[in-house]
């Protein structure tokens, strides 16, 4: 395996792999990735980060050729992926490729959508472009992670550029030479510092990667420049931003084994390590009548839980996302763990506060990261336990299509109200759409 033609091999794959030649499992996870991202974008379309960025690009004007999910406004094609990328990622509720911690949907889907609006591509073409774009991004991510992440890069912002360029490039029908140029423009724009975590700049990474990717494809189609070895070259992306790049991982088994099959979806809008506790809390709802019945909760969890989820008395929504105690309480009281369960009002609600004070976490190295054992003692002496072997959304227990639809309905409920279900059906039926315009229409409040 030479490393001199990685960029070209990936570009050839991206251009030549036919929509019909995607394995069924790949098409399925591609469609899930797409629908999940679209629903989250519509659901977060009123978030202050989205409002601010949209107001900014609206002052720039231009020909309104592309849609904003969950909103009536249309903007210039290059700005739409920026806004939609922010809204997919802003609640940290989007898809995750666990080995690299890349969120492929946020940069790739918005770029694909805008390109599809420009080219008039069908829903199934857009989903195939999403799957292939994500696949290329994840393979490059595998080649540079974990050392790339450890150095301080936010890989959704960096390798997201490649996925966005490939998805857009496919829909704009680039040839191989043009695709190499698009990937080179993407390579040189890989950016996003982990210092941005906790600010609006973090979801901006995803949006900017999406916009850069679409722009790269548009410029390449105009014959912008000649191809170069932008990933594997001596001064290329991998060498410059990863101390231990593994080129074989980028190309081996290309088209045979699929990284996108390892994409996972979060059922709950908080740190992934407390998801088994929420699963357990939801399961116990059927067996215990009310929170007042509960005297004490003991959750046996992996020690990593308290590294990141140890906030005992969260004062606001953001802090509550890092509290395993809060997670149990909302899981039990609300039966779910969507964005609403981690807002300021819920974090301060007296019934939530009362219940989470009864929860104790017991660290147990024998318990796996996606596992939990919950024991509840009631005020009248009853004892209940529930064992979660693999949390919902983990690699061993992926979310089902129905669970993803339910998640999507909850995500868009606040924006679309009674039309939430209708939108979710359109989003999950994108493969049947002649054009993606129907998706934007259905997402309009």
């Amino acid at each position: 395996m030479t490393r001199t033609d990685v960029t070209r091999q990936l570009a050839e794959f991206a251009v030549s792999r036919g929509d019909q030649d995607l394995p069924e499992a790949v098409s399925k996870v591609g469609a899930q990735t797409f629908a999940n991202a679209v629903a989250l974008a519509a659901g977060s379309s009123q978030h202050p980060a989205v409002e601010t960025a949209l107001a900014t690009v609206q002052t720039l004007g231009g020909r309104p050729k592309a849609g904003i999910l969950g909103r009536a406004e249309r903007v210039s094609a290059l700005w739409a992926p920026l806004i939609n990328g922010i809204s997919v990622h802003v609640e940290d509720f989007d898809d995750t490729h666990l080995p690299t911690v890349i969120h492929p949907g946020a940069p790739v889907v918005p770029a694909a959508l805008a390109a599809a609006q420009l080219s008039g591509a069908s829903g199934s073409e857009t989903i195939a472009a999403t799957a292939v774009g994500a696949e290329v991004a994840l393979r490059i991510g595998n080649g540079v992670c974990p050392s790339h992440f450890d150095r301080g890069w936010h890989p959704t912002g960096t390798v997201g550029n490649f996925g966005a360029a490939v998805a857009a490039g496919r829909l704009l029908e680039l040839d191989v030479e043009e695709m190499v140029v698009a990937m080179s423009l993407a390579a040189t724009q890989t950016a996003g510092l982990q210092e941005a975590l906790g600010t609006m700049t973090k979801p901006f990474h995803a949006g900017k990667a999406a916009a850069n990717g679409l722009e790269a494809a548009l410029l390449a189609r105009k014959g912008f420049t000649r191809p170069s070895a932008s990933i594997e070259g001596r001064r290329g992306f991998a060498e410059v931003s990863s101390p231990e790049a593994d080129y074989a991982r980028m190309t081996e088994g290309l088209g045979e084994s699929w990284e996108i099959e390892h994409n996972t979806f979060k059922p709950y809008a908080c740190g992934i390590v407390s998801h088994p506790v929420i699963d357990g809390a939801i399961a116990l709802r059927d067996r215990i009548d009310s929170a007042e019945q509960i005297a004490e909760v003991e959750a046996n969890v992996n020690p990593v839980v308290l590294d990141v989820m140890g906030v005992e008395d969260p004062g606001d929504g953001l802090q509550s996302k890092f509290s395993v105690y809060h997670c149990f309480a909302v899981g039990f009281l609300d039966g779910t763990g969507g964005p609403s369960q981690f807002r300021d009002d819920r974090a301060r609600s007296p019934e939530v506060v009362a219940l989470r004070r009864k929860v104790r976490a017991v660290l147990d190295p024998e318990v796996a990261k996606d596992e939990a054992m919950i024991r509840v003692r009631t005020v009248n002496g009853g004892e209940f336990e529930h064992h979660v072997a693999h949390a919902t959304g983990s690699a061993a227990s992926p979310m089902t299509d129905e669970q993803l639809r339910e998640k999507a309905r909850l995500a868009v409920g606040g924006v679309l109200g009674a039309r939430a279900s209708e939108f979710v059906e359109v989003a999950f039926g994108t493969a049947e759409l002649e054009s993606v315009e129907a998706l934007f229409e259905a997402s309009r409040p």
Partner: protein, 450 residues
């Protein structure tokens, strides 16, 4: 350490004052030079591509593209300016860092100053401070950052553009710091792109990204306010080492901008002393056919950065010292014409390149070179250059700079050079950038003359 905040506070304070005279003069020289290079490259296909994509997909047409009739949106005008300005590798160079500071900085300023009706005085000050901040940030991580493979003009250009734009729109220190946080997450530029149009795309996109960061921050979009010094921030992630003292130490008293230089030849700067020697020897030879062998004694960076012995396009030739020497010997001058594709592929010139070799001399300074030319009649010619024209020790004079700008402007906007030179000279008195807009669009000449 609160480096980012301190930098922003200091810059905003300096923006309220007038620049020292020597700094203002160098800022005007940098600006004139970069306006010239941007106009000179206006017809390049890469500019064409940016204009087409920008017209179709990005923003209302509110700002000019130098040397062209089309107008572009705020961000795309910035991209087009920065790209064109650096396209011929003929813009300014800060030698210690190898940063070309003006392309991204003025690219950010031009559309924004028009939009906000900034005065000439504000433009000059924001430009100088944008360049200065960019150079200081670059100096703090030089040479390590560049050695890792980053194109420092793109990575630091984003921050210089954000500083200039942020000062123009009068962000407060905290908001400017957050704008730098947003900008620092949009760095771009790997050196792998050298030799393709993606290299000049770096300062072009850097200009647009800097403006975008400022427009977002102005509306309350949040970013880190300590991005330079944070453990997973700009310096830590992009450079194996850095020296924070270079960022804010004696800011406002010592100026990196005074160490900015202007190229006499449109190619990689390490080629320049050898080209000086070639031009000097040209009149002593009667044509390329007479030359049997040439040895270029040079600094070790020459083969590293511009070692291409057989370029096949004008762009590749800019990274070929051997081509520059061949053209200098054959033509007695080295300008844009010597880097046209047709000239680069001309068989006689290509044959001459084949008879030229590079010889690294460990004692040779970066701005020095010597040429040994062996003629077919057995004569030996020798020329040694101690300091290249355009180097810090031998800067281009104002007249030489104006001649250079004239050579770039006249083929595109005939008759505009004088007006442009005068406009830059009187910049501090300008109420706004309307006249520059007209000059760049090719509509300003008559009105100005009447």
């Amino acid at each position: 350490m609160r480096l980012t905040s301190e930098l922003c506070e200091d810059l905003i304070e300096l923006y309220e004052w007038s620049l020292p005279q020597d700094v203002a003069k160098e800022a005007r020289r940098s600006m004139l030079n970069v306006l010239g290079t941007a106009i000179g490259a206006s017809a390049h296909p890469a500019v064409e591509a940016i204009v087409e994509v920008g017209q179709e997909h990005a923003g209302n047409p509110v700002a000019p593209v130098p040397g062209r009739e089309e107008r572009l949106g705020l961000l795309y005008s910035a991209t087009a300016f920065g790209l064109a300005a650096h396209l011929d590798d003929f813009d300014d160079t800060h030698l210690e860092t190898v940063i070309h500071p003006s392309a991204a900085t003025f690219g950010a300023i031009l559309p924004l100053a028009l939009d906000r009706e900034a005065t000439g005085h504000q433009v000059l000050t924001a430009f100088a401070l944008g360049c200065e901040a960019q150079l200081r940030i670059g100096a703090a991580m030089s040479p390590w950052h560049y050695d890792e493979g980053w194109h420092i003009t793109g990575t630091c250009g984003v921050l210089g553009a954000a500083v200039a734009a942020g000062l123009l729109v009068r962000l407060d220190p905290e908001t400017l710091a957050q704008a730098l946080g947003i900008a620092a997450s949009q760095t771009l530029g790997h050196r792998e792109a050298f030799g393709t149009a993606i290299k000049p795309f770096h300062p072009g996109k850097a200009a647009a990204n800097g403006v975008l960061a400022v427009l977002l921050a102005e509306r309350g979009f949040t970013g880190s306010n300590r991005v330079l010094e944070a453990p997973r921030g700009f310096f830590a992630v992009l450079s194996p080492r850095y020296d924070a003292e270079r960022v804010t130490g004696r800011l406002g008293e010592e100026w990196e901008l005074l160490r900015n230089t202007y190229k006499p030849y449109p190619c990689g700067i390490v080629s320049h002393p050898a080209i000086d020697a070639a031009v000097a020897l040209s009149s002593k030879t009667s044509g390329p056919e007479e030359i049997s062998r040439v040895t270029v004694h040079c600094h070790e960076l020459v083969p590293e950065l511009t070692g291409n012995p057989a370029p096949s396009t004008g762009l590749e030739a800019r990274f070929s010292t051997i081509h520059g020497v061949a053209a200098g010997l054959a033509d007695g001058r080295v300008g844009i014409a010597q880097y046209q594709d047709s000239r680069v592929t001309e068989p006689k010139l290509s044959e001459l390149r084949g008879r030229i070799r590079l010889q690294v001399d460990g004692k040779c300074a970066r701005d020095a070179a010597a040429l040994e030319v062996e003629l077919k009649n057995g004569d030996l010619l020798y020329e040694s250059v101690e300091h290249a024209r355009g180097s810090l020790a031998r800067p281009l004079t104002d007249v030489e700079l104006q001649e250079k700008v004239g050579g770039l402007v006249e083929p595109v906007l005939p008759g505009a050079t004088r007006v442009l030179v005068d406009w830059v000279a009187d910049l501090s008195a300008s109420e706004n950038l309307q006249q520059l807009d007209q000059i760049l669009s090719g509509h300003g000449r008559k009105e100005v003359q009447s």
